[in-house]
């Protein structure tokens, strides 16, 4: 963290960048938030630890419009999103100075809470070079929790510790993958249709349409979302029927299909804890199965799966036939 502050300060000072896009401490000890820093003095508020899950690449859309370069801190998985935004001409690579920050997995405060740890006042050991165990100070004393057990779901299926784009690297990254990426999706696929339906009905009925998923998602970067515009007579309004969440989430997943890098921000930010990444991951799995392995955001020029085709593609009836 100190190193990052120092390096950012140098780059600000020598005029390489006009501002720094990173995280600063939030009102609670475990919710740092994205922030722009324009002076060296402000940098003392810059933080970087296990709770800095937020993917900053989307903020580069606005930063690309500003004068001068922006220093942006990107974790390995964030760089996929960044590349995808560059590919879609939303972010100007020339306007970014990327520091690829190290990552040893990001933390999910809910995972800690689910272990019965309540009244959290502070969490120690969340920094990049911290110990394997977190020490959590609560109203009722100190609690311990393995770092690994407090990691976000997405870190257990991490795409890898390599940065797909950067100008310089800072800090070690670690492979945190210890689960199969599609295991969750496959488990649901194995359920009978009725159970699948019940499962999603339960999950989606929690949705309060706060739009946190949409706001956090780097692929959901439309200037104006179709659900806010009059384009389809589908503008957001008081839900007249129960269908709208479903439609919203299906369409949202469809709109990002082939563009979603599986960064997991949607699920991370959902205040209701809906496993929204399942929709995106289902599409990714289907795309891999039907059209060959595809990972958005690797920086290749490959056509996106939904703007591409082959003469021998599977017919839609394949869905019915596989039962």
């Amino acid at each position: 963290m100190q190193e990052l502050r120092k390096r950012a300060g140098e780059l600000l000072a020598d005029g390489t960048v006009a501002r720094v896009l990173a995280w600063r401490a939030g009102d609670l000890p475990y919710n740092p938030e994205p922030a722009f820093f324009e002076t060296e003095a402000e940098l003392e508020h810059l933080v970087y630890d296990g709770f800095c899950g937020a993917n900053l690449s989307k903020l580069m859309i606005e930063a690309s419009k500003l004068e001068g370069k922006t220093l942006v801190c990107l974790k390995p998985c964030d760089t996929y999103s960044f590349n995808q935004l560059v590919k879609e001409h939303r972010v100007d690579r020339e306007k970014a100075y990327i520091i690829g920050v190290g990552c040893r997995g990001k933390l999910d405060i809910e995972k800690i809470r689910r272990q019965g740890i309540r009244g959290i006042e502070a969490v120690e050991g969340a920094e990049l070079d911290g110990p394997e165990e977190l020490t959590i100070r609560t109203f009722s004393g100190e609690k311990k929790c393995a770092y690994r057990d407090a990691m976000l779901e997405r870190c257990h299926v991490c795409k890898g510790k390599e940065h797909m784009a950067y100008d310089e690297l800072l800090g070690e990254s670690r492979d945190t993958k210890d689960a199969e990426r599609f295991a969750e999706v496959e488990a649901i696929e194995r359920m009978p249709a009725k159970e699948r339906f019940a499962y999603f009905q339960k999950e989606l009925s929690k949705c309060i349409r706060c739009n946190a998923c949409r706001n956090a998602c780097p692929a959901c970067s439309c200037r104006k979302c179709v659900f806010d515009s009059t384009k389809f007579d589908s503008e957001q309004k008081a839900n007249v029927d129960s269908f709208e969440e479903k439609m919203f989430h299906i369409i949202r997943a469809f709109h990002v299909a082939g563009r979603c890098t599986d960064c997991g921000e949607c699920s991370r930010v959902c205040p209701q804890g809906i496993p929204l990444h399942l929709f995106n991951r289902k599409f990714i799995k289907d795309i891999n199965t039907f059209y060959g392995e595809y990972q958005a955001g690797t920086g290749s020029d490959e056509k996106a799966p939904l703007t591409n085709y082959t003469l021998e593609d599977a017919e839609p009836s394949v869905v019915r036939e596989r039962g």
Binding site: E88, H89, K224, K231, D233, H255
Partner: protein, 662 residues
């Protein structure tokens, strides 16, 4: 809010017999936006149209819905009618209550209910229609004919005659097609070559016609009036400008074992060859697959003997790109393969032949110099059996469901010619039906029976068994006498079904012309637009559209030419205004739309965008409406809905869905 008039057509009893049109009128009056509704026996009639025109004027209509037949029939009629009355033609929508309703439903209540729903959907759509203006596009005054058979030649000659440039692309080394393989033609018994070669010469001599033989269409892009076509001129290995056509190279060529395609493989040819004596151009090609020089590097005899120095082993395929206003498909036919008809022993015995092979045997330039003989032992046959409908009129997957149309007549011709030249040969024809519609056709067939005593037996042959002595035992049946017939024939001729040239599928795909399950190209209307493809600017000539004899092919070729001339005579074409349009305010500039556009109609510009709170330069999509054909692929690729299709906008489609599901 629009002021919509709804006009419900009875179509005589076509609609009114199943749909309660009065009730439809009564119910649509209650729809939002509808200020006028009426019914009339024939809306498309002069009187019907004038009712619409009058309502537009008196009721100050801003939108019109006609509940009638398919928009594919009369959308244009009603749009013109609206335009004449001062209403933008694109404010008219059709509710198809005939093909999609009255003709398929029997219950009046159901049909009426459905008609009302269809009308509602159209009304909901019109409520969101906006006036559209058609643009204009240029017409390249040059036509392309694909296929150099009689159909292609005739079409090209007629187009050239009107003064337009026309190119013929022919896959084989010479123009002439199937007709050049025929010996005589029914029903007048003219020599096929005698009537065809003058036309071939004319095509070659006509300065408006360019021949690309030994060439294939490689790629087609563009649209009516402005097609761009890549033609692959396959390497002939002979310099066309130097060759004198003396033929010495073919005489001296040491590679002589290649089956002769022109003679249907009944004999062999040299590796350097012209398919037949009257070939145009009279310039040979080297079949590189069978040429010793190309296969082993050693030979080069042809180059040595060529006085003109025309042989060029280094020649390469050449791709040329040309622009055309119209394209005519004249790819013709071939006979089906008979490998699935084991019972007729075609693959077992060389004396079981197809009719086209018989044509070559009867032809003086053919493998037997015109002598009728068995291919196995070159003895003249004494008993010939003709079997009709081999693979035609089949309901199974072995054959074709259609009647090949020409077999009855050419078999009568063959039978007659054989009996005429060899009166001691017995000729038996096994038929299912003898079909002879056509001028002087039945008379021709009757002559075969009455004058030449050809033995016609009604009944399909069950099996042909080659005998050890070289004869062929034909197991037939005489259905009229009701007994089985066994004939010891020494030659059996199969009237194999004809099928479209197998290459046509590839060509149809390039042209985006639709094709039916039998690979025949589909016409725009089976009765009223028989020589046009539904794809604008693509025309059909000859058997590629359906089985035809020569006179029919020639008349269709002429008809296709007239349609082409009609198109090329125009300087400008009106373009479809239902094109895509981007809303710059919502456009992300992400390129998803451009990635799916098949016409390259979408480009990106940095534009200054101004809106409340926004003033910036953005990368936004711009549609070139002259290139856009209005498929709508981009509209779905666009996540923000910035790309929309005029005339089929998102809101219009949603309104239709809502109206139907109401």
């Amino acid at each position: 809010m629009q002021r919509i008039g709804v006009f419900v057509c009875h179509c005589g009893s076509n609609i009114a017999a199943t749909v309660d049109v009065k009730k439809v009128v009564e119910l649509v009056r209650m729809e939002p936006g509808v200020v006028w509704a009426e019914d009339y026996p024939y809306m498309c009639s002069e009187a019907g149209q004038s009712r619409i025109a009058e309502a537009i004027r008196t009721q100050k209509l801003t939108g019109v819905v006609v509940c009638s037949c398919s928009p594919r029939m009369h959308e244009a009629t009603f749009r013109k009618c609206a335009e004449r009355s001062g209403l933008n033609p694109y404010m008219v929508e059709i509710a198809n209550i005939r093909e999609h309703c009255s003709w398929i439903h029997k219950n009046t209540e159901e049909a009426t209910e459905k008609a009302v729903i269809l009308a509602r959907a159209a009304i909901a759509k019109v409520n969101l229609n906006t006036p559209l203006q058609a643009g204009e596009s240029r017409v390249t005054k040059r036509a392309l004919v694909i296929g150099g058979g009689i159909a292609g030649i005739q079409t090209a000659l007629d187009i050239a005659d009107a003064g337009y440039e026309v190119d013929i692309v022919e896959k084989t080394p010479s123009i002439g097609g199937r007709m050049s393989q025929l010996d005589k033609t029914f029903p007048t018994l003219d020599c096929s070559a005698c009537i065809l070669t003058p036309k071939m010469v004319e095509a070659s001599a006509n300065e408006k016609i360019t021949l690309y033989t030994y060439s294939e269409v490689e790629k087609v892009s563009g649209f009516v009036g402005d097609f761009t076509v890549d033609i692959r001129k396959k390497a002939r290995s002979v310099d066309m400008s130097k060759c004198t056509g003396c033929g010495v190279c073919q005489e001296k060529c040491p590679s002589r074992k290649t089956p002769n395609e022109f003679n249907r493989g009944l004999n062999t040819r040299s590796a350097i060859y012209t398919p037949f004596a009257q070939a145009i151009p009279n310039v040979p090609v080297i079949d590189r697959e069978h040429c010793i020089k190309f296969q082993t590097g050693k030979c080069g005899v042809c180059a040595k003997v060529c006085q003109a120095g025309a042989i060029d082993y280094e020649q390469k395929d050449e791709i040329i790109t040309r622009k055309y206003g119209a394209i005519v498909v004249a790819t013709g036919f071939d006979m089906i393969k008979l490998d699935k008809y084991g019972e007729y022993a075609y693959e077992q015995s060389p004396d079981v032949i197809t009719s086209l092979e018989l044509e070559r045997i009867m032809n003086a330039a053919g493998p037997t110099k015109g002598h009728l003989e068995r291919m196995s032992d070159h003895r003249p046959p004494k008993n010939i059996v003709f079997i009709q409908c081999v693979g035609s009129r089949c309901a199974d997957e072995r054959g074709k469901s259609y009647c090949s149309k020409i077999c009855c007549m050419y078999t009568a011709k063959h039978a007659m010619l054989i009996r005429d030249k060899y009166p001691d040969v017995n000729v038996t024809v096994f038929y299912i039906d003898v079909r002879t519609p056509g001028k002087n056709f039945d008379e021709f067939y009757r002559r075969a029976v009455e004058e030449y005593h050809v033995n016609y037996i009604k009944g399909q042959v069950g099996k042909v068994t080659p005998q050890p002595d070289g004869t062929l035992l034909v197991h037939g049946v005489d259905l009229l006498d009701n007994h089985q017939v066994k004939i010891e024939a020494d030659m059996v001729v199969l009237a194999a079904a004809i099928e479209p040239n197998p290459d046509v599928r590839k060509i149809a795909t390039m042209l985006t012309a639709s094709i039916d399950t039998n690979n025949f190209l589909t016409e725009a209307h089976p009765k009223l637009r028989p020589v046009e493809s539904p794809t604008a600017g693509i025309f059909l000539s000859g058997v590629c559209q359906g089985p035809k004899d020569i006179p029919e092919t020639v008349s269709q070729a002429g008809a296709a030419a007239v349609k082409v001339i009609g198109l090329l005579a125009k300087d400008k074409l009106l373009t479809n205004p239902c094109t895509a349009k981007a809303d710059v305010l919502a456009c992300n500039g992400c390129s998803a739309c451009a990635n799916v556009c098949p016409y390259g109609a979408i480009s990106y510009e940095d534009q200054e965008v101004r809106a409340p709170g926004v003033r910036e330069i953005r990368r936004v999509a711009v549609v070139n409406s002259a290139l856009c054909q209005g498929c709508g692929a981009c509209t779905v690729a666009c996540p923000s809905g910035a790309m929309d299709l005029q005339g089929f906008s998102n809101r219009q489609m949603i309104a239709e869905v809502d109206a139907i599901c109401r």
